[in-house]
């Protein structure tokens, strides 16, 4: 047990002094709100003259004093019930929450049990249609790989792409490359380049990014100031993005204050409640939280994972867009990371992940994510299992390869046209096939840096990129990028929880408000989207199974007329199922049925017996097949074999469901084992004592792997069954 991955995770004793406590700490203040002359005189037990910058900003801008008197007078449990109750509309709950202080909101949300958090999230999230965000980065900042991976991420359905840099000066190049790649796949994909605040704003002003997210808030004054900002500078930053028509959200998430050693003895949830209240106060349309960089600290304490979801629900309750964490990898255990994400995926969120690493773990310059490229199939299957929309869809390999090639070529063309860099055509081929930057070779780090420097020094803007795309023949991409720039002019995507669909329609709390009000209401995938969710690439139907079997077809089983009873005491009959040699040619373990028969016959021969093969046409039941064979055999011993490979030894005087030996787990039976069954059948025929053969050990999920194929093979057997037809002698030609 010690070797299980979960034991690599760190787990901490609760320690309120260090802030290592999730939902409530003895150090949390008693909720209170005192209003004098229209101004907040006391907030959560702190008088106005002792307000730190966070209290001060919330007190001045964040509370709806009109709603406060009623809201603060309600019992915590009463408000908690209103949050969960689907018949209480989202709007009225958000209005009520406007009157709650940070300490009060934290206490209310801490009351919600996991399933109640899910109920609250389903009702309270802002946008009706869920979405997802990807991280697109690589260790080399290779622009062609970034573009190809951005095209890939957009193809899988991500509507926001977040890039960043290991080398800060590369940032402008990364922003351009990801923007181009996204436009190759789809219109309306939002792109951000997460770097230092001022540089990020500059890139946005030049059109090289279309939203911002890394506007960080912290729950204590000291940590906030260590982050080189104040609530006022962040408020100005929020307005600065809006002033250029760019969507933005802030980032917070518990654990940061603990890591910085300054949690003031407060619980994580209370500190995060301060961040969420502040986010609303400064006019952010949304919040990325749910731990983020501190997620593993939060999950190291009791109820920490639950606290992460509480953070998202607080954002929703305050009427903002929730970009719901599931970002930094919080565990080495696959089970634990699924457990952390599942409630949010099932309840739905504006963005399920605030950074699904759509690239290889090693290429994620934010650090490995909770979900990564290798997990996309798992994510898609989980969507399908529950019939929920996590924002992603499958993509065919050919489609992906074409998109990746076009993205790499577009970057090559634009970088060439703008004089940023000259990339060889051979590099395009490498990028198309690359899983990650390890497949590219060392590259030329100076080429990227050079390109980024030219973008900065020449003041290249997104308009130049549009022109370069157009001039080099990438008309569709040029138009998509221009459309994104023009979307700034209308500003509709500044509203809460806005994304674009593939046709550039804005989906937001204004145009697509969440209207969940209990069963039968709220978001339901369209029939087309449901088909996409259901249609994972791994599904098979009967015709595919038939075609796979047909590839192994041959003329090795030749009918020789009706089977007759034998008289030779060494005569052992092998009965095969109706479809063998007609439509089934290979067992589940991958051995051709002809070879299985060869092994059985050889085993009988070793014991000096004479084997013959009959096809039982009237039944597909293995016991019946074996018994029919045994009754035809001179020795009274028969072997039954289904086309899928399940086999048994039978004796003429036994009841149909009994047997002498059974190989039940067909997928793991080897040729040697079939040989042993032949030998043992021979020994039974001679009256000797065989050494029973056991089914081999296996820890595979045998049923998960093979049961769909079994259903198909049984259906094929059923199709070949002729109830009134007798068994026929067949000759095995090998």
């Amino acid at each position: 047990m010690n070797g299980q991955p979960v034991n690599l995770d760190g787990f901490a004793f609760e320690n309120p002094e260090l802030g290592l406590v999730s939902l409530a700490s003895p150090g949390d203040p008693e909720p209170s709100l005192l209003v004098r002359d229209g101004r907040v005189a006391e907030l959560d037990s702190r008088p106005a003259d002792e307000f730190d910058v966070i209290d001060e900003f919330i007190a001045r801008h964040g509370l709806d004093l009109g709603a406060a008197e009623k809201a603060m007078a309600l019992d915590d449990v009463e408000i908690a019930r209103l949050m969960v109750d689907p018949s209480v509309p989202r709007g009225s709950l958000v209005e009520l929450t406007g009157g709650l202080t940070p300490a009060k909101l934290a206490r209310v949300v801490a009351m919600l049990q996991p399933h109640e958090l899910m109920m609250a999230a389903a009702k309270l999230r802002a946008r009706r249609t869920p979405a997802n965000q990807a991280h697109v980065t690589n260790r080399l900042d290779d622009p062609m790989l970034l573009a190809a991976d951005a095209a890939t991420a957009a193809a899988f359905g991500f509507r926001e792409l977040e890039t960043t840099v290991p080398v800060l000066a590369d940032a402008p190049s990364n922003a351009v490359a990801v923007t181009i790649g996204a436009a190759v796949t789809s219109g309306g994909v939002l792109v951000q380049c997460s770097v230092e605040e001022a540089l990020e704003l500059q890139l946005g002003m030049r059109g090289l990014a279309s939203y911002a997210e890394t506007v960080s808030l912290y729950g204590t004054e000291a940590v906030f100031v260590d982050g080189d900002d104040t609530p006022w500078s962040k408020a100005l930053l929020a307005s600065a993005y809006a002033s250029r028509g760019m969507k933005m959200r802030v980032s917070s998430g518990a654990g940061a204050e603990v890591l910085m050693g300054d949690a003031e003895g407060r619980a994580m949830l209370y500190l995060e409640s301060r961040c969420v209240s502040l986010a609303r106060a400064l006019g952010s349309q949304g919040v990325q939280n749910g731990g983020i960089d501190g997620a593993s600290i939060v999950s190291s304490v009791p109820r920490g994972v639950r606290e992460l979801m509480c953070e998202n629900v607080m954002v929703m309750a305050r009427g903002m867009e929730s970009c719901s964490g599931n970002d930094s990898l919080m565990s080495e255990s696959d089970l634990r990371r699924v457990s952390r994400t599942l409630p949010i995926l099932l309840a739905g969120s504006d963005f399920i992940c605030s950074g699904f690493g759509s690239i290889q773990r090693y290429d994620n310059m934010f650090g490995p994510s909770q979900w990564n490229a290798e997990d996309i199939d798992d994510f898609l299957v989980i969507q399908r299992d529950w019939g929920v929309d996590g924002g992603l869809n499958g993509v065919g390999e050919d489609v992906l390869a074409a998109l990746r090639r076009r993205a790499a070529e577009a970057v090559r063309a634009v970088y060439g046209y703008l004089g940023l860099a000259d990339f060889g055509a051979g590099q395009v081929d490498l990028v198309v096939d690359a899983a990650g930057s390890k497949d590219l070779g060392p590259g030329d780090p100076l080429a990227v840096l050079g390109a980024a420097q030219v973008i900065q020094s020449a003041g290249i803007t997104a308009i130049d990129v549009v022109n370069a795309l157009y001039e080099t023949g990438f008309d569709v991409e040029a138009q998509r990028l221009l459309d994104m720039l023009l979307a700034r002019v209308s500003g509709d995507y500044l509203q809460t929880a806005a994304i674009f669909d593939r046709d550039m329609r804005v989906l937001s709390a204004v145009t697509d408000p969440n209207d969940y009000a209990g069963p039968g209401t709220g978001y339901r995938p369209t029939a087309q989207r449901q088909a996409q969710i259901d249609g994972v690439r791994q599904q098979r139907d009967l015709s595919q199974l038939r075609a796979e079997q047909q590839r192994w077809a041959g003329q090795w089983l030749v009918p020789r007329g009706p089977a007759t009873p034998g008289t030779d005491p060494r005569d052992v009959v092998i009965g095969v199922s109706p479809a063998v040699g007609r439509e089934i040619w290979r067992t589940l373990s991958g051995i051709p049925v002809a070879d299985v028969l060869g092994e059985l016959l050889a085993g009988l021969e070793e014991e000096g017996c004479r084997g013959r093969v009959v096809r039982v046409n009237s039944s597909i039941d293995l016991g019946q097949i074996g018994l029919t064979a045994a009754r035809l055999a001179g020795s009274g011993i028969g072997i039954g074999l289904q086309g899928k490979g399940t086999a048994l030894i039978h004796r003429r005087d036994l009841s149909p469901l009994a047997n002498l030996e059974l190989y039940s787990i067909a997928p793991v039976i080897t040729a040697d084992l079939y040989r042993m069954m032949g030998i043992n059948a021979g020994r039974h025929a001679k009256g000797a004592t065989p050494v029973p053969v056991r089914n081999p050990y296996t820890d595979e999920a045998v049923e998960a792997r093979y049961h769909t194929a079994v259903v198909g093979l049984v259906a094929i057997e059923r199709g070949c069954q002729r109830p009134s037809a007798g068994p026929e002698e067949v000759e095995v030609r090998r």
């Binding site: 002003m205 006019g283 952010s284 803007t461 549009v466």
Partner: protein, 117 residues
């Protein structure tokens, strides 16, 4: 819908880009549009978001460099209270009353919390 430059959106085509007729001001949001978005936000129950858009409507009239410099001035320990007050006055004099109020408020709070230069 008109851009900051006053050019209508339908004139902003790929061919106009090729002819060099599209500049950053053509993809910049106009103050009046932000005021409209502020009304939408308020109607949808978010007065703080509306206030943010109204501040943005004021900042929309400023060049990038000044927006960046106001941000820089508001970061901790960058400005004296007097410098912040002067900046607030300068903004107010140009009619950017909401941004001026934000900066003036910062001056007051920074002084009390020791965040001035």
């Amino acid at each position: 819908m008109k851009a900051y430059s006053g050019k209508p959106a339908e004139e902003l085509t790929l061919d106009a880009v090729r002819r060099g007729e599209v500049g950053l001001d053509d993809i910049r949001i106009a103050p009046a549009t932000l005021e409209h978005q502020a009304r939408v936000a308020a109607e949808h129950g978010n007065p703080q978001l509306a206030e943010n858009f109204l501040r943005a409507a004021e900042l929309a009239t400023l060049p990038d460099s000044e927006v960046l410099s106001i941000y820089e001035a508001l970061r901790p320990h960058r400005s004296t209270a007097a410098e912040l007050a002067a900046r607030a006055d300068s903004l107010a004099a140009r009619g950017l009353t909401r941004c001026a109020a934000l900066v003036a408020e910062a001056a007051e709070v920074y002084q009390r919390r020791g965040l001035t230069r």
